[in-house]
Symmetry: C3
Subunit: 568 residues, 3 copies
Amino acid sequence: MEKTELQVEIPSVLKQTSCQNINGFDCVDYGNGNNPIPLENAISDKESHGESTAGSNMTRLEQQDVIIISLPASPSGLHIGLGQTKLVQHSDRYNPGNPYPQLAKQKQFHSQPILVRENGDRKVVHSEAVRDRRFDPFKTWSGKLERQISNLRGKPTHEADIEAGVSEREEIEEAPGVDRYFDALEGPELDTLRATEVSVLPEDKKWPFLLRFPVNAFGICLGVSSQAILWKTLNTSPAMNFLHISPMPNLILWWAALALILFVSFVYLLKIVFYFEAVKREYHHPVRVNFFFAPWIACLFMALAVPPSIAVNLRPFIWYILMTPIFMLELKIYGQWMSGGQRRLSKVANPSNHLSIVGNFVGALLGANMGLKEGPIFFFAVGLAHYIVLFVTLYQRLPTNATLPKELHPVFFLFVAAPSVACMAWAKIQGDFDHAARIPYFIALFLYMSLAVRVNFFRGIRFSLAWWAYTFPMTGASIATIKYTMAVTNIVTRSLSVCLSAISTFTVSTLLVYTIIHAFILRDLFPNDISIAITRKKPKFSKMLAHFRSSSSDSKDLDSSISKNSEF
Amino acid sequence: MEKTELQVEIPSVLKQTSCQNINGFDCVDYGNGNNPIPLENAISDKESHGESTAGSNMTRLEQQDVIIISLPASPSGLHIGLGQTKLVQHSDRYNPGNPYPQLAKQKQFHSQPILVRENGDRKVVHSEAVRDRRFDPFKTWSGKLERQISNLRGKPTHEADIEAGVSEREEIEEAPGVDRYFDALEGPELDTLRATEVSVLPEDKKWPFLLRFPVNAFGICLGVSSQAILWKTLNTSPAMNFLHISPMPNLILWWAALALILFVSFVYLLKIVFYFEAVKREYHHPVRVNFFFAPWIACLFMALAVPPSIAVNLRPFIWYILMTPIFMLELKIYGQWMSGGQRRLSKVANPSNHLSIVGNFVGALLGANMGLKEGPIFFFAVGLAHYIVLFVTLYQRLPTNATLPKELHPVFFLFVAAPSVACMAWAKIQGDFDHAARIPYFIALFLYMSLAVRVNFFRGIRFSLAWWAYTFPMTGASIATIKYTMAVTNIVTRSLSVCLSAISTFTVSTLLVYTIIHAFILRDLFPNDISIAITRKKPKFSKMLAHFRSSSSDSKDLDSSISKNSEF
Amino acid sequence: MEKTELQVEIPSVLKQTSCQNINGFDCVDYGNGNNPIPLENAISDKESHGESTAGSNMTRLEQQDVIIISLPASPSGLHIGLGQTKLVQHSDRYNPGNPYPQLAKQKQFHSQPILVRENGDRKVVHSEAVRDRRFDPFKTWSGKLERQISNLRGKPTHEADIEAGVSEREEIEEAPGVDRYFDALEGPELDTLRATEVSVLPEDKKWPFLLRFPVNAFGICLGVSSQAILWKTLNTSPAMNFLHISPMPNLILWWAALALILFVSFVYLLKIVFYFEAVKREYHHPVRVNFFFAPWIACLFMALAVPPSIAVNLRPFIWYILMTPIFMLELKIYGQWMSGGQRRLSKVANPSNHLSIVGNFVGALLGANMGLKEGPIFFFAVGLAHYIVLFVTLYQRLPTNATLPKELHPVFFLFVAAPSVACMAWAKIQGDFDHAARIPYFIALFLYMSLAVRVNFFRGIRFSLAWWAYTFPMTGASIATIKYTMAVTNIVTRSLSVCLSAISTFTVSTLLVYTIIHAFILRDLFPNDISIAITRKKPKFSKMLAHFRSSSSDSKDLDSSISKNSEF
């Protein structure tokens, strides 16, 4: 009954909207947001991308019968949604003194670019040069600076409006709670927006590169640097002498990995500087947060892979420097698991948590390689305790673990990472590949086989940058197998070593080709990073409807998603 | 309100049905299903049990005013349930061209034999010689062959009907989802049908022996072969020399166990050949599937128990042969735990999962006994990892573990199995009953004591063949205690060895007596194996009602079960 | 709608009650309960505290217009709640033959003392000398004796009434189910009554000291005796020689701890003798039950801390004596975890469960110190198995663990206890602080740090006697660090030892000061122990309302608590 009413009433509004003003709807709106005539010309935009849209606005105002949707000035009206927006013909209520209403009310706006999609022949009318303020809330300084400028220019005419803007802005800056990530996103990496959700940032447009550059990119560094270790091990292991591997691959891979790490770190540093809000949202993302361990693990890998021609013995202080951020992150992350709240383990457990465990074992291995004694055991112990907890939790697949993918997914290869590194670390600590070291090694081997026989499950999954992070466990298992071959040298172990090394190198090469294709040919390696653009609160029904109406005409999906929502 | 209406309305239909035609209801129905006049005579049944029922049908048609329930021909009408079946007097719509409508629609039919129970003086009218096609869907070849015959004879007149039959048949052949097992069955071994459920196979009749022969029967082999190991250990352990045990018990038990294994394997092989559907359903049963490890574990036990007079050193290739199926099953089962879906661990965890773990340790023990090195550690490692997961999961008793019995149950003795075998395996791998071996041994001992002090909980539980599987952990603990006594020989450990061995032998003897009583005196050792006869889909309410009405007149049970169902 | 009606109707009754008779309400009621005129004088009370209240009753009856609430005599009417109590002026229905109606119906009564709180100028009219029978159900002999006396005097005139009384009495004596504790109490130690609950014992009055003396008090013994071990270790460890600690602190602390243990044990023994019901309720409390391990652990600590001047080597039989009750309790508690029912681990898991684990490791340490071999490994193994289960369960923070505090709480320091004692135990068993011993030590250290960096969370939490139990893990970590320093002696480990010892001593001193302040200045060290006074069944809505109305006038709380309740 209720549902029928909704479907009767709201569409009438939508119809009215769409038949009358779809073409102008979007642009004038942005014009409004971008301080239209005659104020626009007066603003000197600091970032220097913004140009006046007044001209184009005027043009269109003359060309056609445009309807401007003037958003209500009071903050209480900010969340009323689509059904209550007033349709005014040739409105002249421009709120000229408010320099960033668009910024403040940005959440309302994104429903509109979507709406207009209905109209097939829509053109992005405003020129490329127009500074798109929709990204401002994610920028580090934008708001503050603009506000200072605006205040200097003495234009806070509508005080209430500005206050509302500020509070709204603060609301946007506060990252969404972890529940929102689970509610708004889906997929094993929580990177797809659910049908009922709307994005804070425009979905129809390519975002600035930095906003699209995810922390997952450090996964590439993990993949390449672990390959460098593999080839170093193949080169230096007496048991693999029969392969006559030259030291060159290690050297090349190491330099390549170094370049990659420097590049990715530099770009991500820029993101931290210019879009701190986006970084914060990645840090609060229950899957992404684990990737913050990746840069440090990659550095540890680099230290392990350092070619003998560059350095034979590394100084222990490097170990202390690299382990400090890992230790800090662990105090934070493991503490969140235990101390409850939204980020407790039974809620956030997912295979990418292995990234936050594996650092301990890699650190223990490097430390033991350097001849340290207590430090490696410390990290080994911490890793072991938390690995047992995580292993049991993930194996149990508690119904509360919302992120655990229903089907197998490459992320499951992270299961192999911790035990394969742990066995090497223990072998190095103990000075012998003893029974205690073989136990994690064989666990890794079994998990590897268990996943390998299910490999056809992986077909048909969309390529993603995160896959790189799922290659290093395979490489780790290969290296562990070589170490094991050094302890038990026979034809079977040697064949296994060659096999696993080949698979790992083949996988990395394939991924490299895919990555190059996506980066340079398809040019979609960095799609809009929708995971960081979720709204802080559940969108209103009217928005969901609008979003839905615009994106598809299949009413069954909506019904199912609504009823699914109401189940919770 | 609604409930009252249901109790007013539906019974009226039932009353009509029952007062008019109860006697003929069943038989004519089967007559219908069994391709009645004049087609029946033409069919040459391959299994050669089937004889024409036409004669008896005719007789009865003359004798009384029979109502034939003609099932609707369209597939959409197949699930309409009892309330909508049409009551036609002297119907002549026999669908003569459909050779196996009964087979196809068998699910509808089982409600009827139950219904007729209401009528006290019902006789099974169709002669014993009549081939009961109700078991056909579980037979391996029946359907296909019959269909081929039917096709050869060119009688698929009602195409639609046949299509419906085929799709329905496929539906039956597809085993029920794991959720259905949890929904339809109850008890710690999931072997009792819930009040609201109906069985696919006739509940009022003894099924063919093979259908009643469960995979649990391999538990007997486990019990007897582990006793053979116990008596071998008592005979050969220097620490137990003071008992002066002769090698005879070991020899006798070993041959008995061998005979048992051969017999049980042969019978089960017959079941695989003739009732593959039933085997498939056992394999999909969340408790039963673990018993598929039992034959291989029993073989490992046989290899461990081999009397010194027969062989002193077994050849390692036996180990590889025996471990292969265990390894394959593990890849499958553990993969299901981890990879989610319906069979994830948090859903299916129950003590019988220990059977799927203990094979690793038994294998490791046998391998280490044979002098192998890496293989045993591999299985020990795999067993350890999964044992920790299972132990924690079972100890936690998550609310999602539907199968975990509320009360203690003999199945809990399986808790003792893994650690007691693990300690022996580790002691053999390490070559010494060291501290690491004592830890699992003492865990087993504590669990044993913990269960022993609760032994009175076990009283009053119905005897079941599965109990045999719960004796081998006691035997395992006895053997481990003897091994421990060899490491720590004093009066306490010797007494403990004697005590535990006595308890284990006493338990096995008692079970043997019980089994013989049930097998030869009560003749109910193999009751109808209702666990494999659940319907693929939840039965309709009308069927539940019919089932209920026929089986008891206590309306409170129904109400409670209905309301309980609606809670979920 | 419904809620509005409730708020309209019931208050009218309340208003009537409160405006007419608040002053006399309470006293006459108790007069009634205490067998009023003319029976009262005839009763000779065995405990000799009770004096006739008839005089005071008579006085008040003359003084003012008293309304006596006569409770219905039939048992069916016992639970009707407040709204149905009849208001009779100058009632003369005294049920003179019922010797303990108050005892039987005591559950009804507690709502009344609360009700009268509304009236600000209420005075406790009945003299201190009046024996308050409200505590009788918790007394060990009171009821039985009184009943015997009453029966001897031949006064069971109203048979039915007595029967009701007896059954009601049994109901009270039967401890509440574990679910009731979770439903009725809140807070990390489950020691605060929820807003919707009522207490069995009067909340407005100080209870007898024994009733207020909780088993938590043994926590003080744990804190002081562990300090004695610390100072013994500081004195005797060669690695800490540079501190020149005298043996005096150990000696003083040991004697102090001995005195404390004797005192606390004596008082608690009195409680067992005189208020067995209260002890039983503590034993059934899901958090408190773990404190029943505390006395035995404290004794183990005493044996470990014994000053060298008193004894150098303790006799092993002490170990066997002390471990027996721990072993028995473990069989009981761990069995409950595993065997399901209301006390399964996934339900009752909370950090105080560590108390039930740590005894194993302390026992293993003491046994190994005494030179025993197998016993310590046994307890180490049992402890390890259950520690892994508990550690994983607590770390996961399953949504079913109702008691786990949302925020961090001192109870979390118990996490540190088990691994820090375990490392010492293993080091002693193994005879060397080896890698296997370092793993638990480093886990303890990491957990310590993880909690220490969150220490500001602990501010603002109300002091409680239970905190003492949370100091011994810190002390344990200090001792473990000293042992570790003996294995790895350098400036860092020495500083860490000094640091942790200082923190632990400082914490204990601070707690001592707090305890003295609360005991002798604020005189609230032992507040009414509301955890043991919960009703066996959920209170009726009318009682909740009454309770609520009397304790606060904020109707939002009630609404929220009601709606929260209805959610379940």
